[in-house]
Symmetry: C2
Subunit: 202 residues, 2 copies
Amino acid sequence: MVRHETAETRRAQLFQAALEVCAENGYHETTVDEIAARCGLSKGSLYYHFRSKEDLFLSALEAMVDQFASLLAQASERETASEALVHSTEFMIAQVEAHPKMGLATAEFYLLSLRRPEFRKRIKAYYDKLIEVGVQVVRRGIESGEFDPSLDSLVATRVLFLGCDGVALMQLVLNEPEHFSGVTRAFVARTVGSFLNKGNAK
Amino acid sequence: MVRHETAETRRAQLFQAALEVCAENGYHETTVDEIAARCGLSKGSLYYHFRSKEDLFLSALEAMVDQFASLLAQASERETASEALVHSTEFMIAQVEAHPKMGLATAEFYLLSLRRPEFRKRIKAYYDKLIEVGVQVVRRGIESGEFDPSLDSLVATRVLFLGCDGVALMQLVLNEPEHFSGVTRAFVARTVGSFLNKGNAK
DNA sequence: GTTATTATACCAACCAGTCAGTATTTTATT
DNA sequence: AATAAAATACTGACTGGTTGGTATAATAAC
């Protein structure tokens, strides 16, 4: 029989598996049996650790989100605001390229969030966390005179981050890796460039 | 019993209903029974007109796409290239706001296309059609001296259109109409602005 | 009466979730 | 250390509901 593990270990294994299977087959085509099997467990065990399929995925989403947001915050620690923005976005691209399954799983969650309030809550919280990181950077840039003082920091950050999301999304659909980073970098350069205080650069 | 209609009429009714129900409940939670019922028909009738659920949705997607692409092409007929770009994107925003269900259905199709080759084919074709409209405008702008001649017309168009997609996507998720057009317009203005030939504007 | 269209009744597969019981590990007792 | 008791982790067969798809009968249109 399978070796017993602590609840923490199993939960972590299970949502890792959940994200993988979901990325491969999509949320609705993912069966709890397959998730359990991928951990060498039975469905019963999965239901020992989680109340429902949705509960499992909500936990998995939360874990993914926490990790990503803290990595992004780290990535934004750079000398100038422009550098910080460019580096943060390049970090996001690198993450999606290094872990394509996370990108796919995220897309699934976005869509789920349109109809399931619990998912919606967490996706909103996720979005707010990420945007907050960007807003801080933009504010800093404005205060230091690096960015145009008439900039609305929230709108500017949304434009930048959501544009990246758009390109990432389409990359998932089109699957043309050779264009992906190029287009994204072009976009980021243009956008961050447009934030600069042309009049009196520090 | 329900009045007999021509195949064309019924097909049109059925994919209209398919799109609606799909927007409301998502593709996987949409049952063929509900689609048929919404047309006052039974499931048997639906299967008389379409081979399968997938066949129905592929037809529906195609109809939606054809209509939208031709409307976009019309919207891009403007004097200057900047005007054409701004107007095209504003047209897209207006469409999403006027027919939110189309936006939701499109999101469903995007995600479906990740795993179903038939959907992928059509979504790619859709994307190419839309981008082609933009590329023509950008080329025209470059030739007329309005846009920076070093611009890569394909990359530039992708940046613009896909950024809009990103903002639209996030709008679906966040559902904050009061920010939507503002952010999108800010995005469009910045991006199209960055295309301009600063040196020798015509 | 023949063909096109719609309705009814049905089936087989699928799948989330349950549960009674089993195996393993930990803790308490002597 | 040995053993008993309790807690934790796991199993897999079963259930109940759902749904895509089909077979066949009924009805309308020409």
